[in-house]
């Protein structure tokens, strides 16, 4: 079938063997779907050839980075998967102008390892460091410091991608990057991202007995331009971490206004902030969701989660939270979704809308995306059914 024609770029880069297909039936969401073929392009030219061929044979493609999507976007029944795992080189690092050029299959962990050596870092720390950079940009993932540094696409200086018809683009504006949103109409082939020296921070560990006091303080802190991040931890998780049975905020500032200023102690606190996910997962909280709510509705979110035995942590400054449901409470999943809708919140800001959260997409945004899909991927070759229902 397509395999014979894709032997244009090496038989080891195309596979329909049983073991390979089995390894791509899953992603981080709990749905199992078996693909029919997997393709690993090694260059932009390979990507173009694959997309052109897919158009000619009317075979849609599913784009996959590291398969860490929680919204069932990385696999498809009887579909062809185009994976960026072998587009994994970091082509250039410039220390004077502070940017890095790389291919989309580089893992965030690998990138951070290489940058740590030269005292630089990507100012974006999402929940998991296992995802690919391409996936991060496509989903516009937020990180712990998004209050000050923005999300993934805000760090992109230049982006090259191939659209659904096989045409190549190189763009710099965020608006022009819209075709690659969740791989809807474009496959990223190269990105140039901003890097910076890790900032010197001071921290505050703030504990509150009631939510209203906490929100008052948060409101004041978000207005301060020196606030770097505001991490919220719910009561039970604070207790597990050793902070006592109260609502905790870990606040970090780019100046020395925090109570903890010594470098070792600040590092200790930030390590704690990064270990929250691990602490919660260790206790059997299996389902992870990404609600986003306004500051006014944060009170409702926190009390609801506490009442129903969910764990909650997140960036209270931007409203991007992570809610954890225990494995035994699977029936709470739809209840949680309707609750989020009731308080005008959204699911899908951090993990993407994918196939599971399409109903949370803003209608204005939906219209925009439809137009872009029409322009860049008329045949619906790339990621059909993801984020919008085109045709």
């Amino acid at each position: 079938m397509k395999k014979k024609l894709s032997n244009l770029f090496g038989a080891e880069n195309v596979s329909d063997k049983e073991t390979d297909l089995e390894a791509y039936t899953y992603c981080a969401s709990d749905k199992i779907q078996k693909p029919s073929l997997i393709v690993w392009p090694r260059s932009t030219e390979d990507v173009r050839k694959t997309i052109l061929r897919a158009n000619q044979t009317r075979n849609p493609l599913i784009i996959r980075g590291k398969g860490t999507s929680k919204t069932n976007s990385c696999t498809g029944e009887d579909r062809i998967i185009i994976s960026s795992e072998r587009l994994n080189k970091i082509t250039r690092i410039n220390l004077q102008k502070n940017f890095v050029e790389l291919e989309p299959g580089v893992t965030l962990a690998e990138l951070n390892q290489k940058l740590q050596r030269i005292n630089r870092a990507l100012p974006l720390t999402p929940l998991s460091h296992a995802q690919s950079v391409g996936g991060m940009i496509a989903l516009n993932t937020p990180g712990i410091e998004s209050l000050r540094m923005g999300k993934a696409q805000d760090l992109v200086e230049e982006l090259e991608f191939v659209d659904g018809t096989g045409k190549q683009y190189a763009v710099k504006d965020k608006d022009k990057m819209m075709p690659i949103t969740e791989g809807m109409a474009g496959f990223i082939t190269r990105a140039r991202m901003k890097i910076s020296e890790p900032p010197t921070l001071s921290c505050d560990l703030l504990c509150f007995e009631n939510i209203s006091d906490m929100l008052k303080k948060v409101r004041a802190l978000t207005k301060n331009i020196e606030t770097y991040f505001l991490k919220f931890i719910d009561k039970k998780t604070s207790y597990d971490l050793g902070f006592g049975n109260n609502y905790t905020i870990i606040a970090a500032y780019t100046s020395l206004i925090g109570a903890t200023r010594k470098r070792e102690e600040v590092i200790k606190i930030i390590k704690k902030a990064r270990s929250i996910h691990k602490k919660i997962r260790e206790r059997g909280y299996y389902y992870v969701l990404d609600p986003r709510v306004s500051l006014e509705k944060t009170y409702d979110l926190i009390s609801w989660c506490e009442e129903k035995n969910l764990r909650l942590q997140g960036d209270v400054g931007t409203g991007n939270f992570y809610a954890y449901i225990h494995k035994q409470d699977q029936k709470l999943l739809p209840v949680f979704r309707s609750f989020i809708r009731r308080i005008n919140g959204r699911l899908g800001t951090a993990f993407g809308y994918g196939r599971l959260n399409k109903d949370f997409v803003n209608p204005v945004k939906k219209k925009k995306l439809m137009k872009i899909k029409e322009e860049y991927d008329y045949n619906n070759t790339l990621n059909p059914g993801i984020i919008i229902s085109y045709r």
């Binding site: 709990d30 690993w40 795992e85 072998r86 893992t107 207790y239 903890t260 691990k278 494995k327």
Partner: protein, 130 residues
């Protein structure tokens, strides 16, 4: 209101494989995934198979380095060693492993008849068993 004590931190024991939600953190430092540049037979694939107790050849492709256990946020041990015991009970073993086992039975070491005193220089390390 600012407290800095980390006392009373509770440590949870290691979780069993059913707590795995296939998040993919185990693949970040798995040598097999890093080198073969694909998901197949990597750490997460093994966790996927272990969850449904589908024990196959994939479990022989592991150096038992432990990077996956270290990276897993839920402290899950895929327990390749235990699964390999199950595979052997079902009769699934590799040829090289059989040879190693026979050598140990007959000569007390995995290499074979070198125990008798035959000299093996440092250059002859092509064949050995781990």
């Amino acid at each position: 209101m600012t407290k800095n004590n980390f006392k009373n931190e509770k440590i949870a024991p290691a979780q069993d494989i059913n707590q795995c939600n296939l998040c993919g953190d185990c693949n970040t430092n798995c040598p097999v995934v890093r080198v073969l540049e694909k998901e197949t037979r990597g750490a997460r694939h093994k966790a996927f198979l272990a969850r449904k107790k589908d024990y196959k050849e994939a479990f022989w492709l592991c150096t038992l380095c432990g990077a996956c256990i270290q990276d897993c946020p839920a402290n899950i041990d895929i327990d390749c060693l235990g699964i390999r015991e199950e595979l052997v009970k079902k009769g699934n073993q590799t040829k090289a492993n059989q040879k190693m086992r026979d050598n140990i039975k007959l000569y007390g070491n995995p290499f074979g008849r070198l125990a008798g005193g035959k000299k093996a220089g440092d250059k002859e390390t092509k064949e050995y068993y781990t």
